[in-house]
């Protein structure tokens, strides 16, 4: 038993209007699950560049995969963004963003299917995804660019009752292992009005997948996916033809709130690691935590984390009320990734050389900072979108 963890939302129950006892119960469940099934293996999985596929099934058993999806397809109804925040925070405690990215890749791949797919499509693919048996990914980004979604080039041409897909996607999370890839394709003219979402099964002829090596997120597989005359049934269209852009944009608010929750949670993990170290490590005859410079670093980190958390929870609550605070969510995402960046840096300084060694969470978190600031809408794009939303 260590000192009271000042920032642990499980053990330190501060009053909050956002979390019900059921949320806290869920947190306790995931905490125990992560301690048992994830935390002891994170090092090993990250070095190996993968984690066992069975983990999806195990995660589905405790409700991690099904939350927010309709019950008739194996989902769990009645959950809200705070369940998602709790789940993200608890998964983050193991110190690997790659784990969350891949284990939860269905959280970007499957919502368009649930929201816009036909009943037949939903019944065909959702139960497999939500039971953890099948892996779902989302493929938007192309070699020609990720930020400028409206100008994507992969085409899907209707030929009888099939689409024929040609083109390439890159940086696709779970791309190697995914069974289903929700793919943005051009079915119409130029711009956002010509884009559709198509569910593509990865065992179709004409698909080649190449694994990509990365700075961080090692245990998450990331792929370039090449489509060469891939025939996909027209029944796999997700939502109406040429209305795919809406399906993509629909994902963004939830995804960005999730990314912000993750980034801030990783900031907190780095902070906790730094505090632990600062309390133990002696230099110049006293604990690191007794040097004013170090104490101030810790408080600076905590202050930013707290501010980000307030913004996160407030915006999640507004979204739950039906509000769509797009500009604020863009700012939240940057606030969170900048906080993660700051805390990874400061925690690393406090840990010193030890922090630079593999096996320390902060080392991994440090390497995972940039993907958070680039994926799901880069920092620059977030600022640009916020500025436009503000009518500047």
């Amino acid at each position: 038993m260590t000192e009271m963890p000042v920032f642990d939302p499980l053990l330190r129950e501060v009053p909050s209007p956002y979390y019900t006892p059921a949320h806290r119960e869920f947190r306790a469940t995931i905490r125990r699950w992560v301690d048992e099934h994830v935390a002891p293996f994170v090092e090993q999985w990250d070095e190996a560049g993968t984690f066992p596929r069975e983990l999806y099934g195990k995660a589905a058993e405790i409700g991690l995969i099904g939350m927010g999806f309709p019950e008739e397809y194996g989902g769990i109804e009645g959950t809200d963004l705070f369940h998602m925040i709790v789940a993200t925070e608890e998964l983050a405690r193991a110190g690997s963003g790659g784990l969350i990215a891949s284990l939860m890749s269905h959280s970007i791949g499957a919502p368009p299917i649930a929201a816009l797919g036909s009943d037949e499509l939903k019944a065909r693919v959702l139960p497999g995804i939500l039971s953890g048996e099948k892996i779902s990914a989302l493929a938007i980004t192309e070699p020609s660019g990720g930020s400028d979604v409206a100008n994507l080039r992969t085409t899907a041409r209707l030929d009888g009752d099939h689409y024929v897909v040609d083109g390439e996607k890159v940086f696709i999370t779970s791309g190697i292992r995914a069974d289903y890839v929700t793919t943005a394709v051009r079915t119409g003219g130029k711009g956002f009005g010509g884009i559709s979402l198509l569910l593509i099964e990865t065992d179709r002829p004409g698909i080649t997948r190449t694994p990509l090596k990365k700075m961080g997120w090692w245990m998450s597989d990331t792929a370039a996916i090449h489509f060469d005359g891939v025939r996909v049934p027209a029944a796999n269209l997700v939502g109406p033809e040429n209305a795919g852009f809406l399906g993509i944009v629909r994902n963004f608010n939830g995804e960005r709130i999730g990314l912000a929750a993750g980034a801030n949670a990783f900031a907190r993990v780095a902070l906790e690691e730094a505090i632990d170290w600062a309390r133990q490590r002696q230099t110049f005859g006293k604990r690191l935590a007794d040097h004013q410079v170090i104490r101030h670093k810790i408080v600076d980190m905590a202050q930013r984390i707290q501010a980000t958390q307030c913004m996160l929870e407030n915006l999640a609550w507004r979204v739950e009320q039906g509000d769509a605070p797009i500009a604020e969510i863009c700012m939240l995402k940057n606030q969170a990734t900048l906080t993660m960046e700051f805390c990874a840096r400061e925690a690393m300084q406090i840990l010193g050389g030890a922090g630079y060694m593999r096996g320390v969470k902060t080392e991994r978190i440090y390497r995972e900072v940039r993907v958070n600031a680039i994926g799901g809408g880069s920092e620059e794009i977030m600022r640009d979108l916020a500025a436009r939303q503000l009518g500047l």
């Binding site: 038993m1 260590t2 000192e3 009271m4 499980l10 053990l11 330190r12 129950e13 501060v14 009053p15 006892p21 059921a22 806290r24 119960e25 869920f26 306790a28 469940t29 125990r32 699950w33 058993e61 405790i62 409700g63 991690l64 099904g66 939350m67 769990i76 109804e77 009645g78 959950t79 369940h83």
Partner: protein, 249 residues
């Protein structure tokens, strides 16, 4: 057969306990409260009996403040069928708990009551035994294995030097020990479903029990701090110090 499981809301076992500055008790401000771990084991055992077809219903009861309802919900999320909250903000000591539980037993007529061997906050280890005495039922404490037969139960206990097996006539009281089982997770779907399971609210007066404390707490203090150890350069110094300073050789 109905199984009754009392559950207590206590400070979570992961929380480092702090004593209040005025030495009147333990600081509970902003502290995570959870189900007493031994009670989790009891709930798990009851649910397993139900799954094995030996029990028909699992009823959980908690005595405590309004928030004890959350502890009951945890049990319901694990798989118990319904809950009873006997709501009070007063301190309830083991004898009063046992009397209230007797009231619940009289009303519910369970075939088995599984009680945690102790609660990790006050470590009294009295409630199950007192309840058994009040009811005049058999008791098997510190159970590491429970096998339900026809109108009877075989309970294995871990005692010094081995295992002891008791045979009891039902209805009976069993108190659970750590190795009885490993409690399951309350999964998210079950947490959501638990919100809809019945939870009755009662008051101590409904059972005609006077819960006024019989024991008075004089002072609560931190255990003495352990002083830091020292490192010795070699075995010879260690032996020397054990002789001269520690006085154990």
């Amino acid at each position: 057969m109905k199984v009754l499981v009392p559950v207590k809301r206590v400070v979570d076992y992961n929380v480092k306990i702090r004593v209040k500055a005025d030495n009147t008790g333990v600081d509970l401000a902003n502290v995570k409260m959870s189900m007493n771990p031994f009670d989790e084991i009891s709930v798990e055992e009851a649910i397993r009996l139900k799954e094995a077809g030996k029990a028909t219903e699992v009823v959980v009861v908690s005595i405590g403040p309004a928030q004890a309802a959350e502890t009951i919900r945890t049990a319901l999320a694990m798989g118990a069928d319904r809950g009873i909250l006997i709501k009070t903000d007063e301190e309830v000591q083991p004898l009063a708990v046992a009397k209230l539980l007797k009231g619940v037993v009289d009303e519910e007529q369970p075939g088995l009551v599984i009680v945690g061997k102790q609660a990790i906050d006050d470590d009294s280890n009295q409630t199950g035994q007192m309840l058994s005495a009040l009811l005049g039922w058999g008791q098997a404490t510190f159970a590491s294995k429970v096998v339900i037969g026809d109108g009877s139960a075989e309970v294995t206990r871990e005692v010094d030097g081995g295992l002891e097996t008791l045979s009891l006539k039902l209805p009976a009281i069993v108190t659970s020990d750590l190795r009885l089982n490993e409690p399951r997770y309350a999964s998210l779907p079950n947490i959501m479903k638990a919100k809809k399971k019945p939870l009755a609210e009662k008051a101590p007066a409904d059972y005609g029990v006077d819960i006024a404390p019989r024991l008075k707490t004089l002072k609560v203090e931190e255990p003495p701090k352990r002083s830091a150890g020292i490192k010795v350069p070699d075995v010879a110094t260690l032996v020397e110090k054990l002789k001269t300073e520690a006085g154990v050789l």
